[in-house]
């Protein structure tokens, strides 16, 4: 294990100002400093050290290292880290410029698209953010489900529901039947009035959600939207029976209240309309 020196730690802490340092950071800094002492012309070492400083919000030192790195080798090699550092600094235009430069040289860098998407979204350029996430999905073998949801939400903001659904279905194809993606698709189906499609989608979640009382309640709500009162009533009865057997948690208590309220609504006679 590399031992750190107290004098060095102290100096870094002083330099850091309000930024704090992780114990492992000093070891890494110490290590990189020793490598730089041995190989002062090695570009990658300055890139790495610059990123260390950027993480600790020591942006002045970070940029000094990035500039030194640019003097020692191709500037494009520094562009990703520069872009990320500017993102941290919320200098979104500069961040985008550097990420653009990096992607021109390395068009398969999924992480650069992911970062550029976040920047574009924060800048309000939703279309660019979506386009970058699309590229990220193409390049990533295992995209995170949350990125599909983010992209679908942005498409929804643009009122492009069909595209949002298409994207969610692509995610379901790639990741398997992940309930979060299907649930978001159901919300969109309902919004555009395709209740039958929402019901069909939710039916696919019966086994993944283990036919739970929660699934039954939500399915009953969907069935009621389609005027399938008898089917909904049956599910509500089943959900109530199951919930009464399970130990009470706050969530189950609320669920039971919802089930009972819906049953009551279902049982209430339809108010007579006056001619």
């Amino acid at each position: 294990m590399i031992r750190y020196h107290h004098w060095f730690l102290w100096s870094v802490l002083c330099l850091a100002g309000t930024a704090s340092s992780h114990p492992g950071q000093h070891e890494q800094l110490d290590h990189i400093n020793s490598l730089i002492a041995q190989q002062p012309d090695q570009q990658i070492l300055y890139i790495r050290r610059g990123s260390i400083y950027a993480t600790g919000a020591q942006f002045e030192q970070a940029m000094a290292d990035f500039e030194q790195a640019e003097r020692l080798g191709p500037a494009v090699q520094v562009a990703l880290e520069r872009g990320m550092a500017y993102y941290q600094m919320q200098e979104f235009d500069l961040a985008t410029q550097y990420l653009d430069r990096y992607l021109q040289q390395f068009p398969h860098a999924a992480i650069a698209y992911e970062y550029r998407s976040r920047i574009a979204r924060q800048k309000g350029d939703v279309r660019q953010a979506i386009a970058d996430l699309h590229r990220y999905f193409e390049l990533q073998d295992q995209p995170h489900p949350g990125n599909y949801l983010a992209a679908a939400d942005m498409l929804h903001e643009l009122h492009e529901t069909a595209q949002a659904l298409n994207l969610l279905d692509q995610g379901l194809d790639k990741l398997g039947l992940v309930p979060q993606l299907q649930q978001r698709a159901i919300e969109l189906e309902l919004e555009r009035g395709t209740t039958a499609a929402a019901i069909a989608r939710f039916a696919t979640l019966r086994i993944p959600l283990q036919n739970s009382p929660s699934w039954k309640l939500q399915m009953a709500e969907l069935l009621l939207l389609d005027d399938r009162h008898a089917d909904a009533g049956m599910l509500l009865n089943q959900a109530e029976t199951e919930l009464r057997k399970l130990r009470p948690t706050p969530a189950r208590i609320k669920l039971l209240q919802q089930v009972l309220a819906l049953k009551k609504k279902l049982a209430a006679p339809v108010a007579a309309t006056s001619d």
């Binding site: 992940v178 993944p208 969530a251």
Partner: protein
């Protein structure tokens, strides 16, 4: 393992089943287990359920055999190559609660130690009436990177567990790792030394279920520091300053369920997942990668709610690396706001603790701080330690607001909390990041006067310091025993001695 639908289908297609094999004399049904045992450089069981198991290894063997007679293995499975230079053989249609033996290389006999017992069927108890879980945190000191300061410490903790287990003769059913499993950077080589060479015997017999810690993230792409990556991208891994970015080895070394293969709700990612073992539901969350991005963290939270809504097990245990409450050396959950590397502590506390309260989670385990700290039986405590109030947040003895219950002996907790009016809405949070090293000072980021003194944590009579602190800075690990009636958690030291124990009764 990198998720790949094509590979997964291929594996499923070649999976062996005990019923499919026959002792018939024709060529088609001839026993193909006629090879020679080939010693792998690493060997582990993954996703062991009541009816299936993945045998995973690194080495030249391309098949495995299994059977209930160690001298007559009769089910042959061709393995599939998976990422990280591993091989996997999937065996299905196994009988629940049954002892099986296996060979790597398709030998007809099983070497000593290559055996496992399948789990009980969902909701059922194991034959011995108890599910035993072993949890270790920040255990990855068994390799070169930590040898100078912590040589042999992880092995001593393992020995402590073995001593404890020998005391009552009940073996471990489930093995869980709380992150920082292989110092310094979670490289493949770190894993080889700190995991596969340290726990070799156990990994052959018990399925390991890990969570991802900050030291699984190498020196990072976004943040090139050992254990300090704040990237949410698993492909940003760098083991050294000069490496090109690649996928974190953690995701190649382990084959974790993404589609609810072992129970639980499909997560679509190996970064967080759940599974069932008999009467216990387990959840592994990702406080390292998924928690670093708002959208990804929100997706994980939505999944958790779905998962827990679908869960009706007797007991629920959740693990993740960054503890919501800690006054560990250099990791103070009250100052997480100011330290980007500890921010997940705050995020998990504020966004996930309410979910645990609502959905009947019983125990939460984390690491990160290299000490043992254990909370009261809490609900609704999402603030910093100065906001903790026994009357508002802790289970009480006889409803006395100045007497928070310890959970020990006569003060055993009830799952249906009397203080909450008979509702299951409380959780015990434990930090157990001391299975590979135990910090002996507060470090330079935690104030010495608050070290191991989080108000929501319980005083530890085994402490060597007076007044007693609310934590222990000794090496150790946790054994949880889950029966039909009780859930007992024991913190045990290197000698197998119990230093803290509490019980929750159903």
């Amino acid at each position: 393992m990198r998720y790949n639908a094509a590979i997964r289908l291929l594996v499923a297609g070649t999976a062996g089943t005990l019923v499919a094999c026959s002792n018939g004399n024709d060529d088609f049904f001839a026993n193909r287990c006629t090879g020679t045992e080939i010693l792998p450089s690493r060997l582990l069981l993954q996703q062991l359920t009541d009816s299936s198991v993945i045998i995973k290894w690194r080495g030249t063997a391309t098949a495995a055999c299994m059977g209930s007679d160690p001298n007559n293995l009769n089910v042959y499975v061709q393995s599939s190559a998976t990422d990280g230079d591993h091989q996997e053989a999937v065996f299905t249609n196994l009988d629940a609660q049954t002892l099986y033996y296996y060979s790597v290389g398709a030998a007809p006999t099983a070497p000593a130690g290559q055996q496992f017992t399948t789990g009980p069927e969902k909701s059922a108890l194991p034959d011995d009436g108890n599910t035993r879980v072993w949890l270790i945190g920040d255990s990855g000191t068994g390799g070169d990177d930590e040898r100078e300061d912590h040589a042999g410490e992880a092995a001593q903790v393992l020995a402590g567990m073995n001593t404890f287990v020998a005391g009552d003769g009940e073996a471990v059913d489930v093995f869980m790792m709380l992150g920082d499993n292989a110092y310094e950077v979670g490289s493949d080589f770190n894993y080889q030394q700190a995991v596969f060479e340290t726990y070799a015997a156990l990994l052959k017999q018990v399925s390991v279920w890990p969570t991802i810690g900050n030291h699984e993230m190498g020196i990072g792409e976004a943040v090139p520091l050992g254990g300090l990556s704040t990237s949410s991208d698993p492909d940003s891994y760098r083991a050294t300053t000069l490496d090109a970015p690649s996928r974190t080895p953690y995701l190649d070394i382990f084959s974790l369920p993404t589609q609810g293969e072992a129970g639980g709700v499909p997560s679509g990612t190996e970064q967080y997942y759940s599974f069932d073992y008999g009467n216990v539901h387990f959840v592994s969350l990702d406080s390292q990668l998924s928690a670093r991005d708002d959208d990804q963290r929100a997706a994980m939270r939505e999944w958790l709610i779905d998962d827990l809504s679908s869960n009706d097990a007797d007991w629920t245990i959740v693990i993740f690396h960054h503890p919501p409450y800690s006054k560990g050396a250099n990791h103070d959950s009250d100052t997480a706001d100011a330290r980007v590397f500890d921010l997940p502590q705050k995020d998990m506390r504020e966004e996930f603790v309410p979910v645990f309260d609502e959905y009947g989670v019983d125990l939460v385990y984390g690491g990160h701080s290299h000490s043992y700290e254990r909370s009261y039986y809490l609900r609704n405590h999402t603030g910093t330690s100065d906001t903790f109030s026994p009357a508002l947040h802790a289970e009480l003895v006889d409803n006395n607001p100045s007497l928070p219950s310890s959970g020990r002996g006569a003060e055993a907790y009830a799952q249906l909390s009397p203080t909450s009016g008979g509702v299951d809405d409380r959780v015990v949070y434990t930090v157990a990041g001391n299975s590979g090293k135990a910090d002996q000072s507060a470090g330079f980021l935690t104030k010495p006067e608050v070290w191991l003194r989080h108000a929501a944590h319980i005083e530890q009579p085994a402490d060597s310091v007076t007044p007693l602190r609310r934590g222990l800075n000794v090496l150790g690990s946790v054994v949880v025993d889950a029966s039909a009636a009780t859930l007992t958690a024991s913190f045990i030291d290197m000698d197998g001695e119990v230093l803290d124990r509490f019980t929750i009764a159903r």
